[in-house]
C-alpha cells in the first residue's frame, strides 16, 4: 500500500512517476511501490482501453464505462468483481500483490483485458 514519507528522504525518487499527479500537488515519496498510484481503464465500444495495463504494486485501477450499454469488470481468477456498471459508472480495485490479473465483462465475455502488476 502507499505510504508518504518525509521530505528529507525524498531525493531522487521525486522525478519518477509524477506524471499522474498535477504539478501543484506533488507529493514526496520514496519509490514507485510506495507512492499513491492510480491508473484508468476506459470502456469504449465494447473494449477495455488499454486492454493490457502495467502498473506498480499498490496501484488503484479504475474502470469507467463510457458505453450506452452496461458492462462489468470481473477477474477471471475471482480476485475482483464489479457490480454492473451503467453508463459513466466506475469501479476501482487496488492491486497490492504483483502478478497478472486477467479480467473480462461477464455480460459480454468477448471483452477481455489484463492488469500486470509489477
Amino acid at each position: 500500500m502507499r505510504r508518504s514519507v518525509s521530505i528529507a528522504s525524498l531525493a531522487t525518487a521525486l522525478v519518477l512517476g509524477m506524471g499522474a499527479l498535477g504539478a501543484g500537488q506533488q507529493r514526496f515519496e520514496l519509490s514507485a511501490q510506495q507512492k499513491p498510484e492510480t491508473a484508468e481503464v476506459k470502456i469504449d465500444n465494447f473494449s477495455f482501453g488499454p486492454a493490457a495495463l502495467t502498473v506498480p504494486v499498490g496501484t488503484t485501477v479504475s474502470w469507467t464505462n463510457r458505453d450506452d450499454i452496461p458492462h462489468t469488470v470481473v477477474s477471471t481468477d475471482g480476485v475482483f468483481k464489479s457490480k454492473v456498471l451503467d453508463t459513466d459508472e466506475k469501479f476501482s480495485f487496488t492491486f497490492s500483490k504483483a502478478g497478472t490479473y486477467p479480467y473480462f465483462c461477464s455480460i459480454h465475455p468477448k471483452m477481455t483485458g489484463k492488469v500486470i502488476v509489477q
Binding site: N45, F46, S47, D67, D68, I69, P70, T72, T76, K83, V84, D86, T87, P102, Y103, F104, S106, I107, H108, P109, K110, T112
Partner: protein
C-alpha cells in the same frame, strides 16, 4: 393440413407434410415482433408491421403465437428514449391481429439493468396484450448481479436449472433454453453440460415428426462470434434435434432480424422492441444504433448477413421489409 399452399413444400420425403430441407419461405418481420403460425407442422412467421394486410387464411393455423424480444426496459439513451412506448406499440400490433395468438414468447433482455421496477413495467405493459400467457427466457441483462435469481422467482418457478423448460401446445414441442449464465472470459453464450443433458432427455422420447420450437436469447448459431453473437455449445444441442423433421430456433439478442436455413433447422432472430444494433462488423461495436426517430422501425427491420463459417458459406436470408 388444409390451408397449406402446395408450392411451399419443397422436400416432403416422408409424405407427412413436413418440409425436411427447404422449409417454408418464412416471411420476415420488422421492428416490433413476429407473428408465427404453425401450418402443417411447419412454422411461418410474419412481420407484425404487415399483418394488417394478411388474409385470415394465412393467419389461421393449427397454432399461432408471437415472439417479442429485447424490450430493454430502463434503457433511456438517444437510440430510443421511450422503450416503454415502443413496447406498447408492439402490444398494440399484437392486439390488432385478426386471429389472436395463443401466447407470447419473450426471448430475453426484458429489462436493461435487472431492476425490479423494469420487470414490473414490462409485466404491466404485457398485461394489456390479448394473449395472456407469456413464456420467457432470460437475456444477459435480466440476470445481472444475482446470476438470475430474481428472474427465476418472477418467470421461472416451474423451470429447471437456470430457467430452462419445455411444454407442448397442439402437438408442437417448445423448448426454452438459457445461454446467458456463467459466461466464460473470451467466450460466447453457453448452455452448459447440465442443460444439454436435460435437453437430450427431454426430446428423447418424442416422435421424429413432432415439430420442435427452440427459443433462447443468444443465437444458437454463429451469427458473428467476434461480437459474441453465438453459443459455444449450441452444436451439441442441435445434434439432439437432428432426428426431427421440423426444427425452428427463435432467438433475440442481436436486435435485428436474420434467418438461416440449415438442413431441417430454420433459425430466426427477432428484432428488438427497444433499439436497433448494427449489422455484424458494420460498426466498431454492437452498441445501440442511433437513427432519426422516424426511421427507427425501418432500421429495426433491416437485415443482411453473409457470415462464412470455415469453408461453408451460411445461407442467411435478408429479411428486410423496409
Amino acid at each position: 393440413m388444409g390451408g397449406k399452399r402446395k408450392d411451399e413444400i419443397l422436400h416432403d420425403h416422408n409424405h407427412d407434410g413436413i418440409d425436411r430441407r427447404g422449409f417454408l419461405k418464412c416471411m420476415a418481420w420488422a421492428g416490433t415482433g413476429a407473428f408465427c403460425v404453425m401450418q402443417g407442422g411447419v412454422l411461418k412467421s410474419y412481420s407484425l408491421s404487415r399483418l394488417p394486410g394478411l388474409g385470415s387464411k394465412e393467419a389461421m393455423g393449427e397454432l399461432s403465437f408471437v415472439q417479442i424480444s429485447d424490450s430493454h426496459m430502463g434503457f433511456n439513451k438517444p437510440a430510443n428514449p421511450d422503450v416503454a412506448g415502443t413496447l406498447k406499440a408492439a402490444v398494440d400490433k399484437i392486439n390488432g391481429l385478426s386471429a389472436a395468438p395463443e401466447f407470447m414468447l419473450h426471448t430475453g433482455d426484458i429489462s436493461h439493468l435487472s431492476k425490479p421496477e423494469e420487470f414490473d413495467t414490462v409485466d404491466q405493459i404485457l398485461k394489456s396484450a390479448k394473449p395472456k400467457d407469456v413464456f420467457y427466457v432470460p437475456g444477459e441483462h435480466d440476470v445481472l448481479n444475482d446470476d438470475g435469481k430474481q428472474f427465476l422467482e418472477r418467470y421461472g418457478k416451474s423451470s429447471k436449472g437456470a430457467g430452462w423448460y419445455s411444454f407442448d401446445k397442439k402437438g408442437v414441442h417448445f423448448v426454452g433454453l438459457v445461454n446467458v449464465i456463467n459466461l466464460k472470459a473470451g467466450g460466447l453464450g453457453t448452455l452448459g453440460h447440465e442443460q444439454l443433458e436435460w435437453l437430450e432427455d427431454d426430446v428423447k422420447h418424442l416422435k421424429h415428426s413432432t415439430p420442435i420450437v427452440v427459443f433462447a436469447h443468444i443465437p444458437l448459431w454463429s451469427v458473428y462470434p467476434e461480437w459474441g453473437w453465438g453459443t459455444e455449445d449450441s452444436a451439441q444441442a442441435l445434434a439432439y434435434l437432428k432426428k426431427f423433421g421440423s426444427v425452428t430456433v427463435l432467438n433475440g439478442h442481436i436486435h435485428q432480424t436474420m434467418q438461416k436455413i440449415e438442413g431441417n433447422v430454420t433459425f430466426h432472430t427477432a428484432a428488438s422492441t427497444a433499439f436497433p444494433q448494427p449489422q455484424p462488423g458494420k460498426a466498431d461495436s454492437p452498441g445501440p444504433m442511433k437513427v432519426p426517430a422516424e426511421q427507427l422501425k425501418s432500421v429495426l427491420g433491416i437485415t443482411d448477413v453473409n457470415y462464412v463459417q470455415g469453408q461453408h458459406a451460411l445461407a442467411v436470408v435478408d429479411s428486410s421489409l423496409a
